[in-house]
Amino acid sequence: MIKSFFKNKAAIISAAIIVIITLMAVFAPLISPYEPDRQDLLLRLKPPGSEHLLGSDELGRDVFTRLLYGSRVSLLIAVIPTALAVIFGMIMGILSAYYGKAADLIIMWFADVTLAFPGMLLAMAIMYTFGGSFLSVLLSIIIMEWGSIARIVRSVTLSIIEQEYIEAARTIGVKKIVIVIKHIIPNLLPTLIVLFTLNVPSSILSESALSFLGIGIQPPNVSLGLMVNQSRALLFQMPWLALAPSIMIMILVLSFNYLGDALRDILDPKTKY
């Protein structure tokens, strides 16, 4: 399995890009001499150059530095709520598949309800109630993503429990919870890993869209979507201000998509999501 991962060039390159960007985001203070929100009105709107790698914005802040700090937020918001959504979706999917008809009906109904919303509009309702912040973006991403994850986990779980060794374990009286922990979850792992990798890009896109609209992450915090929002007014004069964070988002999303595709081919070739 690991061997076939290293044979897959797309997987290695995209994983490498993700690692590099993550390291740059984590060690941002060491890489950049500037601070993301330090304003220097004398240095406003400098074009890209040796002093400011990607220029400076309308408040004289270094764009490259802000890009690194923005990637931090985008990566955090991509990874944490996606992981939570996968865990929640897994629990709900297993409950639905393995614990009775009533649980199945209610959970799948609830999944259908959250899937019936256009994600962005539901997120906007959450923003309305809790205000634009890291936590409310996190919450809305979980609500947007858990439903489809639960559906897939449910169907994979159903195919796992049909297998004979589970049947055998049940007939000799192994407790349900033990079967879930010892047999079902380990068998679900490849699916969960792939689901996680494939949901990260949509989390990044959701966060950036909300922040772009001005209702997600709020200043003085930085996020990639927020940077695009703040530079919109200067789109025609200084396009790189909007372009740099957009391309950063694109690279991240593209890498995770490639990685997810490759992982799916390697870990879970039969299933399609």
């Binding site: 309800v113 899937l115 019936a116 919303f117 539901l122 896109l205 919109r232 025609f236 909007a242 490639y258």
Partner: protein, 304 residues
């Protein structure tokens, strides 16, 4: 037919859940919305009057039932900020969103299916790598990036197309592409994989044994079979398009549902936000039923 009725009942139950969820989400907010609305200087009496008129003095379950029965009669409440019935506002905005969605769906489907088919026919050859790259790019760029990029290129650089939507068909081109871009990517990817899967089907051998070349067999026999999952994706696409419409409409200044919802958040207009969200969920459910119907029409095995 009974399967269809069961499906409709399911959709109704989901819509009920949708109403319940949005009702709860918008009301966990602490404080009295009437007081927030009226600012600090309003006297107690005014606040109480407004509270009563908005049914805010009643218990939450009663509020929900009142809202539900209102919604069934077509009454989605009164906008706080614009002081007009929510339904009127939604119905005024809806045609713009419909127009945008239709244009971008047409773009997404024509472009997406074409790219997917070419990719599948030339599997693992140069055109495939090229188009696979393009379609992966399609699903990987944020909507706002496409929108801003199109504005920069076609308005600012080449002055070919208008910056904002002004009601003309020409000004709809950029928003339609911006919104359809992501969907085109996912339609292309699904078309490709679904068509390639058809290569394992035995009826393609039959077609070749009949005298069709591999390419012709794939296009004449495989494509129709391959389209079934693509059509099932229609409802999902609709959902992501309505999400994307918020951004596209705000960038291009289109007075559609998405822009209405955004302004509802910005002006803290709870009934309006509730109405727009509910309405778009309703549209998506409708889209689900329609894609079911289309599949039933083209797949003889589903006909009863």
């Amino acid at each position: 037919m009974s399967a269809f009725i069961r499906r409709c009942v399911g959709v109704l139950l989901v819509l009920l859940g949708v109403m319940l969820l949005i009702f709860i989400v918008l009301r966990i907010i602490p404080g009295n919305p009437a007081a927030v609305l009226l600012s600090e200087h309003a006297n107690k009496e005014t606040i109480e009057r407004l509270t009563a008129s908005m049914n805010l003095d009643k218990a939450l379950p009663e509020q929900f039932l009142l809202y539900l029965s209102g919604a069934l009669r077509g009454d989605l409440g009164q906008s706080y900020y614009l002081k007009r019935p929510v339904l009127d506002l939604v119905l005024e905005a809806f045609p713009f969103t419909v127009k945008l969605t239709i244009f971008s769906a047409a773009f997404a489907w024509i472009f997406g299916i074409a790219v997917g088919v070419i990719s599948a026919v030339y599997q693992n050859r140069l055109p495939d790598y090229l188009f696979r790259g393009i379609s992966l790019l399609g699903v990987s760029v944020p909507v706002f990036m496409v929108a801003l990029f199109l504005q920069y290129l076609f308005y600012f650089k080449f002055s070919l197309l208008p910056l904002l939507y002004d009601g003309s068909a020409v000004s709809m081109i950029l928003p339609a592409i911006a919104l359809g871009w992501n969907s085109a990517g996912s339609v292309a990817r699904l078309t490709r994989s679904s068509l390639i899967e058809q290569n394992n089907e035995l009826y393609l051998d039959t077609a070749k044994a009949k005298g069709l070349t591999a390419k012709a067999a794939l296009l004449k026999h495989g494509l129709k079979n391959a389209m079934l999952p693509v059509i099932t994706m229609l409802a999902l696409q609709l959902s992501s398009m309505l999400s994307g419409a918020v951004i596209t409409e705000s960038v291009f200044g289109i007075a559609g549902i998405g822009k209405l919802a955004l302004s509802a958040v910005e002006t803290r207009d709870m009934p309006l936000l509730q109405g727009t969200v509910l309405f778009s969920a309703f549209i998506i459910s409708l889209g689900n039923i329609i894609s079911d119907l289309i599949n039933t029409c083209i797949d003889p095995r589903l006909r009863v």
